[in-house]
């Protein structure tokens, strides 16, 4: 088992939304790769966990999915951000920033 920390609860959704916002429609593998790249392996992400997360986001109406063709010409499911997802992302980004600032202040005072 890797020593790197688990994905904090609830942040995977945010990371997926942000990834889709930045790169446009992507398949599951692409999203997982991107998150790994960005976090530089700092997170122990089982790539499989991306799929329940994608389904959850789809149920909430924040992403939509459709079949497309991947780089290696395989059929792949592509996920894209919806308008509601974009709004949610900006709301969560704000919340995240506030939380981080708050926790940071709290820790700084100790």
């Amino acid at each position: 088992m890797s020593a790197s920390p688990e994905v904090p609860y609830g942040t995977l959704d945010l990371m997926v939304l942000k990834t889709l916002d930045g790169l446009g429609p992507l398949h599951g593998y692409g999203i997982a790769r991107r998150i790994e790249q960005v976090t530089g392996g700092g997170l122990a992400l089982n790539q499989g966990t991306i799929y329940p997360a994608l389904l959850r986001l789809e149920q909430k109406g924040w992403v939509k999915s459709s079949w497309g063709t991947s780089d290696n010409n395989r059929r792949a499911r592509f996920y894209a951000l919806t308008a509601a997802g974009r709004r949610q992302l900006s709301a969560e980004q704000d919340l995240w920033a506030r939380t981080v600032a708050m926790v940071g202040r709290l820790l700084g005072q100790e």
Binding site: Y29, A32, P52, K60
Partner: protein
């Protein structure tokens, strides 16, 4: 919104599970392949790359599981687990489950059966085009007696009305249908004006409708057949069109066949144009015997049509009858369906629905009582589940699902019971005068209703006990006392028993009140000894019986022959049987009094003796052709009461307005006797009636009534004796005399039996609830019972102790119920005046019954526990 979306997706999830799983597997495969390719690019061997890929991915099974959980299967899984628990409990406690199921099933079945009946009747519509615009026009006289419309009034109204697009008249008749090669048979037929079917929007399935030219005096006689008659008599032969048949001896050409659903007005199978009805042109305005239907003009309402007819009727009645007198009448206009099914705002169905709702409430309360009473024994189980991590909501969900399993069973049993009841009902009512387009049975709507009621029963009956029990489980450590009642249970049980008893008492009192009317009518009908009396109709028609004298002498000879036979104790004839609608005629009493409108029938001299009736005052008709007092008449006690009493009426003279078919001139007739009041019309009350001797007015169709001596069937004797006199005359319409009483009381009988059933079921439920409360309370205190016996309490003391737990709330319930019952019967009386006196007597009797049943239901289980062996009782925990 988002939350709703997730829920919908989760609920829909299982439905699309297979497709979703396939999609996921494809995505995972693609993902793994891409990942492996990446590893290969970094220099791993293909096998090692695949291994690395699946390590990075983190286990496909876990992914699929997590994915499924998100898709909603976890939710379904919990449900399935609770369902299994509920089913297991059913097996573990079969008696308890059976009791709860029985309580709910009685409530649900009763409610569904009553609602099914009421909606079958009140939602039934005749098979006409735009049936809501088809009105039935009839008349009502100053005393509220209903009649139809006279021919001249119909003609006036049809010609002058603007509110009605068109109006049609019909008159039913029993017709003798003869056709080549087959014996003549009697069928229900109707004379209809030529526009009738067109007005109703009914078209023949074969041949043509009547044309205006068919409906003129002197037109060639034509007929239309009903589908059933076409099938039974003509084997569905299409060549029947154009065939000549005889109807009452006259040749008619068949021009059309109506589809099976057409039985207008009620159960007719044969139609003939109105112009061929005998004596049509000579009928006066007092013969209100024609049914009339009209189709409202577009944009005209019922009230406007009624107002117009009232105006037209006033104009014509000024010519014939003094206003405000007993013989004055006014038109009424109702939707056609109401002519046969009663008014749509009739309070009786509402009262029945109310009774059904009460029964349902009692059933739910009883089920809840049972669940509460049982919950003392389940606290430990709940405590254990709580210790294992169940939340209160989770426990309530589980308990509700247990309840849902019971309710589903109960719903099934109740629906099956209701289906049987409705089927029985349809059989009882067939031929009772309900139109064939009223269909009883369990259809989609009734099933849906049963499901909805069962579902609400789960919430009503299961939520409170479940919530309490789950709460108790949360507060207590597992392994504690096994018989502690959840807090508040005592109050709940008490309240439920109060409600059950009070509702049962009210339902019983209401049922007794409604049923009393039916009983009173039956009792009044028993003035006639109907046992062993059989009736048949005999039409004395033909050239040999053209004059009244010929008819009456033929009838007298026939009756004499019957009386000679040893198998026959008595024989008589009358123009109408008892208990059935008898024509209203205008009657004058001496010169001074204003004319009154009363029932008039002509009876053979042996009529009263045959029916077991003696004169209340005066004497009966003498058994001679000419009475010693000349022209005589008898009246019933009700007639006498409205004219100075039994004594005063004797010796006065009565004149019955001439029957239009018998020509002008009615004789003044001496009143020689007063008979008991026999009902000659619709219930509830016997109305004033005048009896003419049969010789004075022998009808063409008489009702022959014969009392058999001993048990021998006499129908063949009647046929044989008639054959000996005249082989061409048919006897038809065979019925026991009691049938006429029953058929005219069917509404009352039906309501009476429904409310009696509901009342009995309610009482059973209340007994079940009280029994369960006492039984569980006593069982819980078995140890205490042992201690008490050990320190000297008698069994009597114990029984008293246990009975008290249910007796107090039951007593409170009886008290409240008594007040409610008095109020309820008062309300019923004001809504349905004919149900008679309301108030304390019925309520007190119902209260006594409920109290006795409550005590009995409590004593039985209490005695059982009180009889325990103290040693074994002390050992139990």
């Amino acid at each position: 919104m988002t939350r709703l979306r997730v829920w919908i997706a989760r609920i829909v999830g299982p439905v699309v599970a297979r497709r979703r799983d396939a999609r996921l597997r494809e995505e995972i495969a693609a993902h793994l392949e891409a990942l492996a390719a990446e590893h290969e690019r970094r220099g791993l061997s293909p096998a090692a790359a695949r291994l690395a890929a699946s390590r990075d991915f983190g286990g496909t099974i876990a992914t699929v599981e997590a994915h499924r959980a998100q898709a909603g299967l976890a939710w379904l899984d919990a449900l399935a687990r609770d369902l299994a628990l509920g089913l297991r409990r059913l097996r573990l406690e079969p008696w308890f489950s059976a009791a709860v199921v029985a309580a709910l099933a009685i409530g649900i079945g009763g409610a569904v059966a009553v609602v099914g009946t009421v909606t079958a009747i009140s939602w039934a519509t005749p098979p006409f085009r735009d049936p809501a615009a088809v009105m039935a026009v009839s008349t009502i006289d100053a005393r509220g007696r209903r009649g139809d419309v006279s021919w001249p009034d119909f003609v006036d109204w049809r010609d002058q009305s603007r509110a009605f697009n068109d109006m049609a008249a019909f008159a039913s008749a029993s017709m003798a249908l003869g056709s080549e090669g087959l014996a003549a048979e009697r069928v229900f037929g109707s004379h209809v004006t030529a526009n009738t079917f067109g007005l109703l929007g009914l078209a023949p399935m074969l041949g043509r409708d009547f044309a205006a030219a068919d409906d003129r005096a002197g037109a060639a006689p034509v007929a239309i057949l009903g589908a059933n008659l076409w099938e039974s008599r003509f084997g569905r032969d299409p060549a029947v069109i154009g065939r000549v048949v005889t109807i009452d001896g006259v040749a008619h050409t068949v021009v059309g066949v109506m589809p099976p659903e057409v039985t207008f007005p009620l159960q007719a199978a044969l139609w003939v144009p109105m112009a061929h009805r005998p004596g049509l042109a000579t009928l006066g305005r007092e013969r209100r015997t024609f049914g009339v239907v009209g189709r409202l003009s577009a944009g005209t309402g019922r009230d406007a049509a009624l107002a117009e007819l009232v105006g037209l009727a006033a104009a014509s009645s000024r010519l014939t009858a003094p206003a405000e007198s007993d013989v004055a009448f006014r038109p009424t206009v109702v939707e056609f369906r109401e002519r046969f099914l009663g008014r749509s705002d009739d309070p009786v169905p509402l009262a029945l629905l109310g009774a059904a709702a009460m029964l349902l409430a009692i059933g739910c309360a009883t089920a809840a009582t049972l669940l509460f009473a049982r919950s003392a024994f389940r606290v430990d189980e709940m405590a254990m589940r709580t210790a294992l991590g169940a939340t209160r909501g989770r426990l309530v969900q589980q308990l509700l699902l247990e309840c849902a399993v019971l309710a589903a069973l109960a719903g099934g049993v109740g629906l099956a019971g209701a289906a049987v009841a409705l089927q029985w009902f349809a059989r009882v009512l067939s031929g009772s005068g309900l139109p064939p387009w009223v269909q009883f049975g369990v259809d989609g709507r009734v099933t849906l209703l049963a499901v909805a009621i069962s579902a609400s029963a789960v919430l009503v009956g299961g939520l409170a006990p479940g919530w309490r029990l789950a709460g108790a489980g949360q507060r207590q450590a597992p392994g504690g006392s096994r018989t502690t009642r959840p807090s508040g249970t005592r109050r709940w049980i008490g309240g439920l028993v109060v409600a059950e008893t009070a509702l049962t008492l009210m339902l019983l009192a209401g049922a007794a009140h409604l049923g009393a009317a039916a009983v009173a009518i039956r009792r009044a009908d028993q003035v006639i000894a109907t046992d062993g009396v059989i009736t048949a109709q005999l039409t004395v028609a033909g050239p040999a019986y053209a004059t009244p004298e010929q008819r009456s002498s033929f009838i007298a000879r026939y009756l004499d022959r019957l009386r000679q036979r040893g198998e026959i104790a008595a024989a008589t004839a009358a123009s109408a049987p008892p208990f059935s609608g008898t024509p209203l005629r205008r009657v004058a009493l001496d010169d001074a009094s204003p004319e009154v409108s009363v029932r008039v029938l002509s009876v053979d001299t042996g009529y009263f003796a045959t029916l077991g009736l003696a004169a209340v005052r005066g004497r009966l008709f003498a058994p001679t052709i000419v009475d010693p007092d000349g022209d005589v008449v008898m009246v019933n006690a009700r007639f006498a009461a409205t004219h100075g009493g039994d004594a005063a009426i004797l010796g006065r003279r009565v004149r019955v307005a001439p029957s239009p078919t018998e020509g002008p001139g009615g004789a003044w007739r001496l009143v020689i006797g007063v008979t008991p009041s026999v009902r000659q019309g619709a219930p509830p009350d016997a109305e004033p009636a005048v009896y003419l001797p049969l010789t004075a007015e022998p009808p063409t169709t008489v009702y022959v009534m014969v009392r058999a001596a001993g048990g021998t069937p006499v129908a063949q004797i009647l046929r044989d004796e008639l054959q000996a006199l005249d082989g061409g005359l048919p006897l038809f319409g065979w019925q026991p005399l009691a049938w006429y009483s029953e058929i005219s009381r069917w509404t009352h009988r039906t309501i009476g039996s429904i409310v009696a059933t509901l009342g009995t079921l309610a009482l059973t439920l209340a007994a079940l609830g009280i029994y369960a409360v006492t039984a569980y309370a006593a069982a819980r205190r078995t140890k205490e019972a042992g201690i008490r016996i050990a320190i000297g309490a008698t069994r009597r003391d114990l029984v008293r102790l246990f009975v008290r737990s249910a007796a107090w709330p039951a007593a409170v319930g009886v008290g409240l119920g008594l007040v409610g019952a008095v109020g309820l019967t008062r309300v019923l009386q004001s809504l349905i005046p004919e149900t008679g006196q309301a108030g304390w007597p019925v309520a007190v009797m119902a209260a006594a019954l409920v109290a006795v049943v409550a005590v009995a239901a409590a004593v039985v289980p209490a005695r059982r526990v009180a009889n325990v062996d103290p040693v074994s009782a002390l050992r139990c925990d």
